[in-house]
Amino acid sequence: MRRVLVANRGEIAVRIARACRELGIETVAVYSDADAAAPHVLRADAAERLGPAPAAESYLDVARLLDAARRSGADAVHPGYGFLAENAGFAHACREAGLTFIGPGADAIRTMGDKVAARRLMAAAGVPVVPGVEPADQSEEGLRAAAREVGFPLLVKAAAGGGGKGMRAVHEAAAFDEAVAAARREATAAFGDGRLYLERLVERPRHIEVQVAADGTGATVHLFERECSLQRRHQKVIEESPSPVVDARLRTALGEAAVRAAEAVGYLNVGTIEFLVEGEGEAARFYFLEMNTRLQVEHPVTELVTGVDLVHLQLRLAAGRPLPFGQAALLQRGHAIEGRVYAEDPDQGFLPQAGRILLYREPHGPGIRVDAGVVEGSEVTVHYDPLLAKLIVHAETRAAAIARFDRALADFAVLGIRTNLPFLRRLVADPAFASARFDTGYLDRALETLTALAADEARLEPWAVAAAASVVGAGAAGAAVSGTAARAAPDPWATLGPWRLT
């Protein structure tokens, strides 16, 4: 493996290119017309244009990606996450074209991508699954009959689904038909497959997932859990490791179940088994939710507590080499927290935002890591996921990590486009976060108090007004201030006066 084509964009493409460079492997970036000068393009040794901005004509176009790989002389493909990362056809096509696909086999992707097939396989392997029904009769009447069997409350899910798309919680029979219609509409739009299945709704569950890694010799290990319960409409917002509610007994049970799940599907490379956990302590029970057959957005928290670079590990495993460690060598050290920085407006139902980032300053300091896909001046478009960057911190204890995370969030400045950074700060300051009393529904329930104008924000507003009023005429880089302020710090655009550049 000498030259890897990274079939992705944004922060994950930047992160993969960095890992390749560290291992002396060349990288080829791909880009749409919207990303011609994006950070992931500038990081790579070579770059290939895919097509116009819409993902369907660029990052999702298998033929164009394979063409780019051939033109650039790449011998391997890293799919990142999203786009084609869990598309079995893409993995298969890469291997048919003689390229190493940095991920699992197409069969494992296909099996785990079919939620119904995955449930059956997990149940057969002794991995607990949520009680549910997979109706063969997908008509409205067939689904109603299945709903009576499962009982309310229940969850309608897309058979081809993931990421919360095409998923609806239904608490009573009267709301069932409408939920089915909405889930089918979303599932068809997102996956081109409107098949649905029903599960008992696990009330107030936690979402806890386990990182696994497997090599071609049959060795499979887990790299402990990630706590991902802080979600908004099934999109993760904050992730951490270890989970503050997983004790040693549950950790062992989750890890063993995750390894069993990976082995059952003949898994190769790194992946994640997601579980729902209900109850606490001795009473805690867990159920298989789904497997993500790829690198996860939140993989850095595992990297920080285990010291393992998961992208390095992916490259090593894809090259056919064995796992460099056994289970006994793996430890969780300290505590890591990740927050996802999105271009979205918390006050407007978290609507994704488009626009130019006029000012961008990352936080720095011990134990602070930022994985970013943007820089100052980047144009954020409506074509792709609004994830701008991830802020990840590591400290000795959870309390120290929270304090470090709060400080780093406070030092992170993004202007010109609305982001969820202020919302993340309010979330971290919420007593429920410190005490770890939250489940997957907590954020949606607490939204009202978390988006309200906080006291310290109100207190700082006159300071902000004073700063805003002092800046004259401005612009991204050319802000100027009246009077001695400008003279104290001369800025050519402020002091140039009536001269003409010739």
């Binding site: 798309k165 909405a182 979303e186 739009a189 407006d345 407007q348 139902g349 609507l351 994704p352 935002q353 488009a354 130019r356 006029l358 000012l359 409506v382 792709y384 996921d385 406070a410 030092d411 992170f412 400045a413 993004v414 202007l415 010109g416 609305r418 982001t419 950074l421 202020p422 700060r425 009202e448 310290d456 924000e457 700082l460 507003e461 006159p462 300071w463 902000a464 007004v465 004073a466 700063a467 805003a468 009023a469 002092s470 800046v471 004259v472 005429g473 401005a474 612009g475 991204a476 880089a477 802000a479 201030v481 009246s482 009077g483 001695t484 302020a485 400008a486 710090a489 800025d491 402020a494």
Partner: protein, 171 residues
């Protein structure tokens, strides 16, 4: 030499009268409550410092042409600044009253009806973009004056979808 400037600044639904002296001294008077006084220095590349007797804070400021974006200690403010004239300043930004799509999107449903009273946070229009359903909610309680979209319609960013008159009278 710049003369002393009399300005009006609006942040959310709060309005301030601001006086800026040539030496960087700034007086910020809210509609109600204590006046805030500080000295502001510009350090370049969007960095300013705001100093009072006891405390100096860093603020990042950029101007996108219509709005000044200000960052202080992790908080972000979008502030409209205009010269103060004899006229009564706008009590509320126009954006609060005309709700628009932030991006190209398809209208899925329109729960809002003209003439309807709505509470803050109530869903007025459900949009779909990037395969996600996105609710457009009322930023404040008020009266729906008019609805300018219908189900299935493709709408462009910035185009008004709903006119919402805030409670407490027309702006």
């Amino acid at each position: 030499m710049t003369a002393r400037r009399a300005l009006t600044a609006t942040s959310g639904d709060r309005t301030y009268q601001v006086d800026v002296s040539p030496d960087g001294r700034v007086v910020v008077a809210p509609a109600a409550g204590a006046t805030f006084e500080a000295v502001v220095h510009y350090a370049g590349h969007g960095r300013t410092t705001v100093a009072t007797d006891g405390r100096t804070r860093l603020a990042h400021v950029v101007d996108d042409g219509t709005t000044r974006w200000v960052w202080i200690e992790g908080h972000v403010f979008e502030i409209a600044v205009e010269a103060r004239t004899g006229a009564r300043p706008r009590a509320r930004s126009a954006a609060g009253d005309r709700l628009a799509a932030p991006m190209p999107a398809t209208v899925v449903t329109v729960p809002a009806q003209a003439g309807q009273r709505v509470a803050r946070g109530e869903t007025l229009v459900v949009l779909e973009a990037m395969k996600m359903e996105l609710p457009l909610r009322a930023p404040h309680a008020g009266l729906v004056r008019a609805v300018h979209c219908r189900e299935g319609e493709l709408v462009q960013p910035g185009v008004t979808l709903v006119d919402l008159e805030p409670d407490g009278g027309a702006p």
